[in-house]
Amino acid sequence: MTTRYTKDHEWIRLDGDVATVGISEHAQSALGDIVYVELPEIGKQVEQGGEAAVVESVKAASDVYAPVSGQVVAVNEALDGSPATINEDAEGKGWFFRLRPSSPAQIDALMTAEQYKEYLATLE
């Protein structure tokens, strides 16, 4: 069960045939205090790179893109009441939604934690 990352700072972790998606630790720290999230509807079909959720911090609103195509099967409803969970544990309890990937191979093509770290270094 490894975590992969996108250039848009989402992470995705496949467990069985369902993958969990969230925003990276780097993303949460860049956004600052998160005050609101808009999660997709369960059952929604999302396309790789398409808008899947919205995260609003005290600074700005940002789109969260689907790292891979698939169908949304669960959303983290706990975030509605406490969006700050994302700041506290972005890559754990602060997950956004779960989806059933239509092509799991898309996940393998994303960056590993190591590659993402190198990618972040190029942004600075």
Partner: protein, 95 residues
Amino acid sequence: MRAALARASRKRVGIKPDGRAPAREGTEIKSADGETIGKVTSGGFGPSVNGPVAMGYVETKLAAPGTPVALIVRGKPLAASVVALPFVPHRYVRI
């Protein structure tokens, strides 16, 4: 001055979204009947209020505190109401 106020067709008001979603600058404001009545000039999260707050211009006849309005955020209407400004009265003494 009175004449100028009487002519003002729009007024700057405070707007409090009912939910948690902040409305940002430029958000369209609609009346309960779905008519566009103004625009948010500034909006975001208010830590002192612990919720979203906004300010904007609306038509004078719909500028009374308590008037229900809708904010069009990402294509969806969000319920909100016109409120009196300031959101949080200041509690310090000017010297």
